[in-house]
């Protein structure tokens, strides 16, 4: 897995995002209309694509797209 693929997955899932706008350093809560439904959609995406569980606590502790990427990468190993 690499971060480019991860960002691509997110952009495919959330159609409202402008392609290319999301960067590793983007604050994900600001990047799109973040709410509890979007959080579940994101958790579902990670679960389906990477078979990794993201908890509510993981989301609370993360700020950027890269923070999330690091959590997922650690759990794949």
């Amino acid at each position: 897995m690499n971060i480019e693929k991860f960002i691509q997955d997110i952009e495919t899932e959330f159609e409202d995002l402008t392609p290319g706008a999301l960067k590793p350093e983007s604050i994900f809560r600001d990047a799109f209309d973040w709410n509890s439904v979007n959080a579940l959609i994101f958790i579902a995406l990670v679960n389906t694509e990477y078979n990794v569980v993201i908890t509510a606590d993981d989301l609370r502790k993360s700020k950027t797209v890269n923070d999330l990427f690091v959590i997922i990468q650690e759990r794949i190993k």
């Binding site: 509890s36 959080a39 579940l40 959609i41 958790i43 579902a44 679960n47 389906t48 908890t55």
Partner: protein
């Protein structure tokens, strides 16, 4: 390990009952229209049926049972066992099944008790009834399963208000040496008991005046301590991580693959969650029916609501191999592989 087979028990017929009163989630004015639309699209519940105040799970199961007994032509005094499964029971005590024994006009020689399970209840119920019929050599049983979940949900809790629908179901089972076997895989994890629960609903914390105070848990989420609390992320992670291996293990134990199953009829929990589960097991869309769009999450009734509203023709006329799976409150989950042949599938009852 609760991976086992049950023999000699035939499903004679199934029926289900829902309230006529329909709620369109587009009218849920507690949240903005755009958020309503997003919820409907993601969670999959456009409409659902809500029982009027005072209408109970027992009432819905009663109507389902009356219709089924009439359609299959059973004599009421021949029914040896009545098992009622619900979370939302008519009273804390006595057991709702006992009240239904009398209301349905069954014999006082009928054995009856309640089981306190939710979304996994139908699969568990099939195994319990099969076990009882076999162990005691009794002939006929009624399994009544459902919930009036909307009774404990807060209108001001956007995280679950639009999710649940109410329904009651009935299944007639009988001892029959020529019946095809049923293969079960049942599981439990009590560590997560508070992922779906009503905090002040029993003797651990007896409800008092403070239990009724509305508290704010987040934006758009207000409920009291006798309202249902559901931790969406925990439940989501549980179901998507535990249900696929449970189903795969059951298939492997019978040397079967996804190709050998005609339909996978799963508890209608939440469209997003059900789709992750479907993709992980690699079930083709056409083998995975949904009723959630019209009826919502109907707890333990959802498997039969889906069979009756989406597959009634097929179940009534064809010899099918089905895999049913229920998962949720407990946490409790289980799957069963069974064959349908000559099952009477009553028309949906609306009251």
């Amino acid at each position: 390990m609760a991976l086992f087979s049950s023999h000699n028990v035939r499903i004679k017929g199934i029926s289900a009952c829902v309230p006529k009163n329909e709620y369109d989630n587009l009218n849920y004015r507690w949240i903005p229209l755009k958020e309503r639309q997003q919820l409907i699209k993601t969670v999959g519940v456009a409409k659902r049926r809500i029982a009027e105040k005072g209408v109970t799970t027992g009432d819905l199961c009663f109507h389902a049972a009356e219709k089924l007994i009439q359609d299959i032509g059973w004599k009421k005094d021949e029914i040896d066992i009545l098992i009622f499964i619900a979370q939302a029971r008519d009273y804390h005590l006595p057991a709702t099944g006992i009240i239904l024994q009398h209301r349905l006009g069954l014999s006082t020689k009928c054995m009856t008790f309640d089981v306190g399970l939710g979304c996994s209840g139908y699969v568990y119920g099939l195994s319990i009834v099969s076990g009882l019929l076999n162990s005691f050599g009794l002939k006929k049983a009624l399994l009544l399963v459902g919930d009036v979940s909307t009774s404990s949900v807060s209108y001001r809790d956007k995280s679950i208000y639009t999710l649940f629908g109410d329904a009651g179901t009935a299944t007639a089972l009988e001892l029959d040496a020529t019946a095809p076997p049923m293969h079960f895989n049942l599981q439990t994890d009590g560590k997560e008991f508070d992922a779906i629960y009503i905090p002040h609903s029993g003797t651990r914390r007896i409800a008092d005046r403070t239990s009724h105070h509305l508290r704010k848990f987040g934006p758009g989420i207000e409920r009291n301590m006798i309202h249902l609390a559901l931790d969406g992320v925990r439940v989501f992670n549980f179901a998507t991580m535990e249900v696929p291996p449970n189903v795969n293990e059951l298939l492997a134990s019978q040397q079967k693959t996804v190709d050998d199953i005609d339909y996978f009829v799963f508890h209608q929990a939440n469209l997003l969650m059900n789709e992750v589960i479907r993709k992980k097991i690699k079930i083709p869309k056409e083998k995975y029916p949904y009723s959630i769009q019209d009826f919502g999450n109907t707890s333990s009734a959802s498997i039969l609501i889906t069979l009756i509203t989406q597959l009634r023709e097929q179940v009534s006329s064809q010899h099918l191999t089905l895999l049913l799976s229920g998962f949720g409150v407990g946490l409790s989950w289980g799957s069963v592989i069974l064959e349908t042949k000559d099952i009477l599938c009553s028309e949906l009852v609306e009251v």
